[in-house]
Amino acid sequence: MTINQLSVFVENKIGSLVDVTKTLYENEIDMRTLSVAETPDFGVLRAIVNDPEKTARLLTDAGYVCKLTPVLAVAIDDRPGGMYRVLQTLEQHSINLEYTYAFVTRTTDTAYMVLRVADNEKAIQVLQEQNIRLVSAQEVFKL
């Protein structure tokens, strides 16, 4: 139960993100959430999009360096402590968390976390043991 996350290399300069998002817009790519990690010189845009393979192809053709990475998405209660439970579970099983970002939707009381961990299989197992619900790509885009 993983989701393909799209990552794009962008230089840390004015207009970089504008160009990427323009390509997505022109090709009617739907983006559910994104996060940008940055250094003084460059950034990595990470996004959950409706058709990651197609998007990666489009961006590569447009001259970008992209990558698809299987990540986990979990549903949590949108209230204090929701995120803590997830992170605590990973920590207790010594699963290294590379990064995470979260998003909410308009229609439910549920929030969602994207998790990039060192070991997806083990993380899935321990999260399910704690009754933390993993969500599929289809579900994310039905929201």
């Binding site: 990552s7 230089e11 990690a37 010189d41 460059f42 990595v44």
Partner: protein, 433 residues
């Protein structure tokens, strides 16, 4: 008043210098023909025997020697004395694969030291001076050369080597350094640092001997003003001996070549034709007194002009201009020789593409090297720390190859300017020449 280390040589008549050169050239050619198979083969290919080289007029008959030839001959191919007679090696800063290694007998060290001593005395040095050497010591010839010269003069020598600016300034203040020897960019940096600390009244410097990289007259004026000294240029290359091949006198209008040891020619770099004095071209040296590593007609790739007009300092040896450029793509950054091919080799070895650009600039009189590399899928990761780690490995590999720090900037694909399909490799904004 002008001072000389060896007045009888430095002020010798032109006829005397010519007589020394004729005799020593013939002797050196005979020596390498008898002892270095490489030279013998190259001369035989041209149908030459040592008898064909009787004087400087015959020099043009000999084939040129290039840096590539020296690399091919690494390590012992051009050695003209048994190793048991050699006492030292020095080497050029990093090159792809093979370095150039130069060998010295004690005689060779002595004459190299004498050349440096001439430079120090020309800059006003005496046995009462404190010579502060912050060129690097080690394989680089800068430190050992000026160190040896200072010993010959009898000055108190401070073998500081490079780096640790704090300590440099402290010793300068506490031990009363009077003559500073380093690269001009480091001199400028020291001058800044001394001013920032308000220590300009605590230093006793009177002169500086600065070389190993190109510098402008503006930079000279800046250093002279800030440190209250007279700044002298010095030139040399490991292949020929090291610093002191030529040096500036009080006139500061070019560097006197030690012609009793080295014959200078200016050639057209395209055709190899020897050009008359006063014309701009590539400088070629023949060493005529060295035992272990004498080079015949070595192409320096430095573009300059020779000037034989009498000099007000009284020296009779020919003067060369500051190098005005290179006939190859070598860059001199922070005094270190850098070839773009070295940077390319490191990039490829680290898994990066050959789509790169080298930016060289000078900020606050200090050289800055930046390598921009285009990102490729193989080097990309969704993890910033992974990319940063690879970037760090690249910086370390560049440092290991070049000996200097290069800032690495990763850029998006196809963003490096290309002219006629080929990337513009080097952008040097220093305006050195």
């Amino acid at each position: 008043m002008e001072h000389y280390f060896q007045p009888e040589i430095e002020r010798a008549s032109r006829d005397q210098i010519r007589a020394w050169q004729d005799e020593r050239l013939a002797k050196t050619v005979r020596h390498v023909y008898d002892h270095v198979p490489y030279y013998r083969t190259r001369m035989q290919e041209k149908g030459l025997t040592p008898e064909d080289i009787q004087s400087v007029d015959d020099l043009h008959k000999l084939p040129f020697l290039t840096k590539d030839d020296l690399r091919e001959a690494y390590p012992y191919g051009l050695l003209a004395k048994p190793l048991s007679d050699c006492v030292r090696i020095q080497s050029t800063s990093g090159t792809t694969g093979r370095r150039v290694v130069a060998f010295y007998t004690q005689h060779d060290i002595d004459l190299w030291d004498e050349c440096c001593a001439r430079a120090i005395v020309a800059a006003g040095g005496t046995r009462d001076d404190v010579v502060h050497v912050c060129y690097g010591y080690g394989l680089f010839t800068g430190g050992p050369g000026l160190n040896g010269g200072s010993h010959k003069v009898g000055s108190l020598t401070l073998p500081m080597s490079s780096g640790n600016t704090e300590r440099q300034i402290q010793f300068m203040c506490d031990l009363g350094s009077t003559i500073l020897c380093c690269t001009p960019s480091y001199a400028a940096y020291l001058a800044e640092s001394i001013h920032e600390r308000g220590l300009q009244d605590k230093i006793k410097l009177k002169a500086g001997i600065f070389g190993a990289e190109a510098w402008t007259e503006e930079m000279r004026a800046d250093i002279q003003n800030k440190l209250g000294i007279k700044a002298y240029d010095i030139y040399g290359l490991t292949e020929i001996s090291g610093p002191g091949v030529s040096f500036e006198c009080s006139e500061q209008t070019g560097m006197h070549i030690n012609e009793d040891h080295f014959i200078a020619e200016i050639i057209n770099p395209q055709t190899g034709e020897v050009l008359p004095d006063g014309e701009k071209g590539e400088l070629v040296f023949t060493s005529i007194t060295k035992e272990a590593f004498p080079l015949l007609r070595y192409r320096t790739r430095d573009i300059c002009v020779l000037n034989r007009k009498p000099c007000s300092c009284g020296r009779t040896h020919v003067k060369m201009s500051k190098p005005m450029g290179r006939s190859d793509d070598m860059l001199i950054i922070k005094g270190v020789n850098v070839f773009p091919s070295q940077i390319e080799a490191v990039l490829l070895q680290q898994g990066y593409p050959a789509n790169y650009q080298i930016l060289v600039s000078r900020e606050n009189n200090s050289d800055r090297l930046e390598v921009q590399v285009e990102m490729v899928p193989e080097m990309f990761s969704d993890s910033v720390s992974e990319i940063a780690q690879r970037e760090k490995e690249l910086i370390n590999a560049l440092k290991a190859m070049l000996g200097i720090y290069a800032k690495v900037t990763l850029v998006e694909p196809k963003t490096i300017a290309r002219s006629e399909g080929k990337a513009v490799r080097v952008i040097d904004t220093r305006n050195l020449y």
